[in-house]
Symmetry: C2
Subunit: 353 residues, 2 copies
């Protein structure tokens, strides 16, 4: 990787587009002065924004295209209309051509995953992409995947997710051997689905040097911080993330209306507002923006479509770190080197009788 | 149903047993003076508790047994050791024999579901039991099922869950035609699993008089109150519930430690503590205790194993209401009467050309 981190941005992605992406990039640049940007999209919209951020302008190149994938496009429509021409595709292609180290888009998730898969192709041994997000816990943070890039999957898929999530966590949290748990339920006698039990057995017998498999984790174990990486197929991962987000939002609403209902509570709130700010800071989805699309020959980060400039900057931060600390190499090592996750299981030595 | 509501209690169930169950029953009796109780378990433990609650004692009968299912017993162990003899089994059997209108147990979930299935048998047309819980939402409350009585399931299973959940919601919320949504994710082009889409089509074409099918609901739609009933198979239902519970607990922890860190915030908290009490009241799991085991020839309510007397009383309240308002008849109507959920789909009339 060259000295600079070269970041390709889909400047048209998200609910707002350039008016969020460009100021967001400017914020990220202030935190990472060694970043450079390729900005793909409608130059008539990008350039006026860029003119307001001269430092960003100095390290950016604008590549014009009229075509943008809309937030409503289905993946197949996006591919049909936007392949080779859209700002989303061109940002991904820059990574493919080696002109950028990472692509960041706030465009629609389904389209981005489909295009990334089509443009960058899957890593050797990986069948399907996955979306990984950073989740706040009581103890610190954890990585949860897959959040819905695809749904379902056998034990090998779960093991691949564990390996990729482990590599991501080792980069993000600077842990050489992050703990990994499989999301499961504790009610049934024989716990959970067959494929989860199988994946657990595989991970245990592999005993990978790059990750520490700790067993099953239930839904409430995510927030408790029971593991650095929580692995599950995309359906339940998506449900878990959204149910938790919904519960938090609902609680904030309830608290707000309870406080509004009493003037004493309002005074109390004013006095305690420092504490509330700490809380909001810790749980604000904006601070956890930036899901990583894993499993590809290239690094792609998905920003929330509705995020503001500060939120988008966080997604750029994630992309920067993934590129700077060479996520792809780490993933490949975990998957393939020294009896990695995709190597055949070691044969037990026969005991001498 | 006779004038009185007769409630069979597994007095040994839960982490504590009689010392929670008996005071809990006393609290529930104060709210429902027309209840009567059958108390199954070790009379040496039950009677001393009962002596402290003379009003409860006056409407209770103690049926002694030495055998209790432990919280650690696997379902198969519980059945082997506790069938026909344990306090859990005897409470269920009282319902089967028509001596009680409902059974309530805080015993272990897997054992209770297995025993209930074995003792009471499934309703006609229902293959598997389901666990339904009441969930607080921004707007009011909703019913979520299945929370893990079994995992997986085809479209017919989901339709049966919708019908049973609808009947439960109509009793709980006094709505003649509660809204029902299928839990799903919104990322993939063709949303979610095949069986969910199929179930959606079936529910739409059935257009049942007892429930209003509104389509798919995402994970964050549960807390928003998008439907009175949220239907999903047991794995994702369990994950959703626990992830949301975990997020709420985590948030309360964060808030608590943020407030503790500043004396100004502590004063603010004192002033606002009425508002916090309102919040706690609204989200306290204790106030939502009591999951209903659905699909059986009889009403069974599961209390959380770790709940206190007030929590257990809530579970008894749920059981009381289910019996008083004749949940079973409502379920059977929704399932079978007038082209109910289990009737064959109506054949479209041919248009006269």
């Amino acid at each position: 990787m060259p000295q600079k981190v070269r970041i390709a941005l889909d400047a048209m992605g998200g609910d707002v587009g350039a008016a969020v992406v460009i100021p967001g990039a400017a914020i990220a640049l202030s935190r990472h002065p060694d970043a450079e940007f390729l900005l793909f999209g409608d130059s008539a919209k990008i350039v006026p924004e860029l003119d307001q951020h001269p430092r960003l302008k100095a390290v950016s190149r604008v590549i014009h295209t009229d075509v943008a994938v809309s937030m409503e496009d289905k993946p197949s429509q996006a591919l049909r209309r936007g392949r080779k021409t859209s700002s989303m595709w061109l940002a991904l292609e820059a990574v493919k051509k080696g002109e950028a180290d990472v692509a960041v888009s706030a465009g629609n998730t389904g389209a981005l995953v489909a295009m990334a898969r089509f443009c960058l192709r899957m890593l050797e041994g990986i069948d399907r992409p996955a979306l990984a997000a950073i989740w706040p816990t009581r103890r610190a943070k954890c990585v949860v995947l897959d959040l819905g890039a695809t749904i379902g999957g056998d034990a090998h898929h779960l093991v691949a997710l564990a390996a990729m999530g482990g590599a991501l966590a080792s980069v993000l949290f600077e842990k050489p051997r992050p703990t990994v748990g499989l999301l499961n339920i504790g009610v049934e006698e024989i716990k959970g689905h067959q494929e989860i039990r199988e994946a657990g057995e595989m991970l245990r017998s592999m005993n990978l040097p790059q990750l520490d498999y700790i067993g099953f984790v239930e839904g409430d174990g995510i927030g408790k911080g029971e593991a650095d990486v929580i692995v599950t197929e995309g359906f339940s991962g998506n449900i878990a993330l959204k149910a938790a987000e919904g519960a938090v939002r609902q609680m904030m609403d309830l608290l707000r209306s309870a406080i509004k209902a009493s003037w004493l509570a309002q005074i109390g709130y004013l006095l305690a507002r420092g504490a509330f700010r700490v809380l909001r800071e810790k749980i604000d989805p904006k601070n956890y923006n930036g899901s990583v699309v894993l499993g590809l020959n290239g690094i792609v980060v998905k920003s929330h479509g509705g995020s503001d400039a500060e939120g988008f900057a966080r997604a750029v931060d994630v992309g920067y770190e993934m590129a700077r600390f060479d996520l792809l190499t780490k993933i490949n090592q975990t998957l393939n080197r020294d009896g990695g996750a995709l190597a055949p299981a070691p044969v037990a030595q026969e005991a001498v009788s």
